[in-house]
Amino acid sequence: MAYRVRQMAAVTLQVEDRIGMLSQVLHALRSARVNMLAVVSRRKGGTALLGIPEDIETARKLAAQEGVSLTQREVFYVEGDDEVGALCEITDKLSSARINIEDVYALATDGKYAAIYTVAAEDVERAAEALDIG
């Protein structure tokens, strides 16, 4: 099963849970030409956004200009050929290392897939080792 895993810096921010908020954030990113490998938005006591910018410095500068407070966390970004069971190997490796996965988001299109795995901050180093990228 061909895939590549990278440990990447993601940015997270909490925004107000209201109509148009996500649109506002995305337009700011678009106007500043911040390219995102991934964007995840969840409504959970407000709205939590997680993004993986291609260039984290540009994202940080934009946040500073807009007066937005960003936090940074490490995530694992997987890209590979899409086939049945594509997520099993990565998930098995983390499970075998007794690491509880926080969240997974995976999407497939045109024979390829990408996925984001998040784990607790204290598990990031062990997860990287389990995924052979430590």
Partner: protein
């Protein structure tokens, strides 16, 4: 900017929040030959799994065989180019229709972009309309009661 939007059925399952549960579920799906457009797992008071299979019936039968309890919901899958631009255009159209987006997961996939948008059941028809889709007759039961 070119992209397509499809309304699809997602299957939702709640599982125990413990190490190895996700691996076991994915192994069952692999052995059952379930090919997926999207998959998400979120820890929220237990772990909520969402799978969008290419073939709903395969997953329904597999769930039945394994005694898994699934619920279904309608979501929207976007595929296309130029990720942030497409996402911001869709988010703007939905916001202009006065609809709050529940969750979005979007990512670059092999040079193209894919995303899943979810909305509250009560907003599905309006969201479909805002995104330029027709709401199929078979899902009229999802229309909110006045």
């Amino acid at each position: 900017m070119e992209y397509t939007i499809r309304q699809v059925t997602a299957m939702i399952m709640q599982v125990e929040d413990k190490v190895g549960v996700l691996a076991r579920v994915l192994e069952v799906l692999r052995q059952g030959g379930v090919d997926m457009v999207a998959f998400a797992s979120q820890r929220r008071r237990g772990t909520a799994l969402m799978a969008i299979p290419n073939d709903l019936n395969t997953l329904r039968e597999l769930a039945s065989d394994h005694g898994m309890s699934l619920s279904e919901r309608q979501v929207f899958v976007v595929q296309g180019e130029d990720g942030v631009a497409a996402l911001s255009e869709i988010a703007k159209r939905v916001a202009e229709a006065g609809i709050n987006i529940e969750d979005v997961a979007a990512m670059s996939v092999g040079g193209t972009y894919a995303a899943v948008f979810t909305f509250a059941d009560a907003d599905l028809m309006a969201a479909a309309e805002a995104m330029g889709l027709e709401w199929p007759d078979e899902f009229w039961s999802s229309e909110p009661a006045d």
